[in-house]
């Protein structure tokens, strides 16, 4: 059935190092579960940004719903500078209930979805974050003050490799090559692995077929299958992507 759309007021916008935190007044809107996503568009519609942007919440509570942005173009710039946002969602499949120890792995703006997840997990939780520079790494404090942080050229998969094998679920969000490396490491050690993936998207509710990613060896719509998928699914039938 059609996804819900709401116009939500911007409560505040804060710089978090090289990223921007957009906090909306929730006003009773359905926030879904961690890992689901929303299509966000600034109001009024910004010039040069026809499509909404798919974003997962950094966190949501009774009063607010927050998104961490990497401002890179007209769409995200407009979101960082507007007073109202059209929010469609929640969309897609978020994280399932996770029991037992968890290892969170974030790469760059992929860390944006982890603060909310951290709040929902029972300890022990180990957090590994990788960033391209100090400015981006500032957001680590939002995720987990005790996180292990590495900067390029060190890859976040290096500390992960030292933790495996582990009796834990590995949960990763970040650029595609990082997710593939994490999924491969987990497969090697037989460790359960969940990935929150990203794709260019026009609609977010299965209409456009734009967000195809290779899952189970086929192109599938990420907005329907994910964005949270089991790591093994991106390893199947590799080669055509």
């Amino acid at each position: 059935m059609p996804p819900a759309s709401r116009v939500l007021a911007v409560d505040r916008v804060e710089a978090v190092g090289g990223y921007t935190l957009l906090v909306l007044r929730r006003s009773g809107a359905d926030a879904g579960v961690p890992g689901q996503f929303f299509m966000l568009q600034a109001r009024p519609q910004p010039a040069g940004a026809y499509l909404p942007r798919p974003l997962s919440a950094a966190w949501a509570d009774e009063r607010e719903i927050a998104f961490l942005l990497d401002v890179r173009g007209p769409g995200t710039a407009a979101l960082a500078g507007c007073r109202e946002v059209t929010v469609t969602g929640p969309l897609g499949r978020g994280f399932p209930a996770i029991t037992g120890p968890a290892i969170l792995v974030g790469g760059g703006i992929g860390a944006a979805i982890l603060p909310w997840l951290v709040r929902t997990l029972a300890p022990p939780v180990t957090t590994l974050l990788g960033f391209r520079g100090e400015a981006q790494a500032v957001c680590a404090a939002l995720v987990d003050p005790s996180a292990t942080v590495v900067l390029e050229p060190t890859l976040v998969t290096e500390p992960l490799a030292r933790l495996l094998p582990a009796e834990a679920t590995v949960i990763a969000c970040g650029p595609d090559p990082m997710l593939r490396a994490v999924a491969a490491l987990c497969a090697e050690h037989g460790t359960p692995c969940l990935l929150a993936m990203e794709a260019a998207m026009a609609c977010g509710f299965g209409a456009c077929y734009g967000c195809a990613v290779e899952l189970d060896g086929e192109w599938k719509r990420l907005c329907i299958e994910g964005p949270v998928v089991e790591g093994s699914r991106i390893l199947a039938g590799r080669g055509s992507g």
């Binding site: 026809y50 260019a200 055509s240």
Partner: protein
């Protein structure tokens, strides 16, 4: 729903004149979004995975897509999807595509035999496959021959969906009419592409793609206006529609039914709002039905309909 919007298109009774464009809505996921008929994504004989990512690129007033006719194939569509689509409660227009006359004919015969199907759209205009499809719709003789071949397979209304990326679209429309088309669907996306600003390589996985959104509205209006004048066929008009006023303009150009496409991606609730707003716009013009507007642009000026606004 005001009766002022009820209409009949190629014998199909519609509650109002606003539908979706093919490939812009998965009604099994999101419902009909208020469309008075559901137009399916194009189905081909065999399943198609579609083109590799990246599949969409934003443009200043729309987007370029390179989906590549991803679909479950004719068997699964007829056995699995169609029964569920029949439960939507609106007429179904099934879009079919192919790589040869015989492929289209096979699909038309199979789809046309399904009681739930109100009409068949022949997609001869997809810009995202290398051969077939658009290579038919860019050739008047091929288009006429395709319609003749498909006409022999079914009595269900046949609609030809045409590309604007041709020198003489009305001539293609006329060929479709001569071949037995009952109506036209204008327009498919306009051929286009995007270059990755960093790598300077083609951005889309398929190389090129199809442009849609408000950027193509004037192209679509021109196509509808001239195809209507030359063929006289009923037309589903689409291309950049994002308001009730846009619908009125397409109707004036000659569209009996209008479709929302790319605009639904950014606002799944737009179609219902457009349908709600249409009666007021008609009232402002002093006309009682949507049908009264259809073809208004073809009447000599000044016209009573156009004088209302002063």
């Amino acid at each position: 729903m005001g009766s002022s919007l009820a209409t009949t298109f190629c014998g199909i009774e519609l509650e109002h004149p606003v539908v979706n464009g093919s490939g812009t809505l998965d009604a099994l996921v999101a419902g009909t979004l208020g469309a008075s008929a559901f137009v399916t994504k194009t189905v081909t004989l065999r399943p198609r995975a579609g083109n590799p990512p990246q599949r969409i690129a934003e443009t200043p007033a729309g987007m370029v897509n390179s989906i590549g006719l991803a679909n479950p194939g004719l068997d699964r569509f007829c056995d699995d999807h169609l029964p569920r689509l029949a439960d939507l409660g609106v007429p179904l227009i099934v879009s079919v595509g192919g790589w040869s006359r015989e492929e289209y004919a096979t699909a038309v015969a199979r789809v046309g035999a399904q009681p739930a199907v109100a009409a068949i759209e022949l997609n001869v205009s997809c810009p995202n496959v290398d051969t077939g499809c658009i290579s038919i719709g860019t050739d008047a003789a091929e288009t006429r021959a395709l319609l003749e071949r498909c006409r022999a397979e079914t009595s269900v209304p046949l609609l030809a969906k045409l590309t604007p990326s041709v020198a003489d679209l009305p001539a293609i429309g006329l060929a479709a009419a001569e071949g037995g088309a009952d109506g036209l669907v204008l327009i498919n996306t306009v051929r286009g592409m995007a270059i990755d600003r960093t790598t300077l390589r083609p951005l889309l996985g398929g190389g090129g793609g199809g442009l849609s959104g408000p950027a193509v509205k004037p192209v679509a209006l021109h196509a509808v206006y001239h195809a209507r004048a030359v063929t006289g066929l009923p037309i589903i008009g689409l291309g950049g529609i994002q308001s009730a006023q846009d619908c009125i303009e397409f109707a004036a150009a000659g569209a009996s039914v209008v479709a929302l496409g790319t605009a639904l991606f950014r606002d799944p609730h737009l179609l219902r709002r457009v349908v709600e707003e249409l009666p007021r716009l008609l009232g402002d013009r002093g006309v009682s039905t949507f049908d009264d507007i259809v073809g208004a642009a073809h009447l000599g000026l000044p016209h009573p309909i156009l004088e209302v606004d002063g």
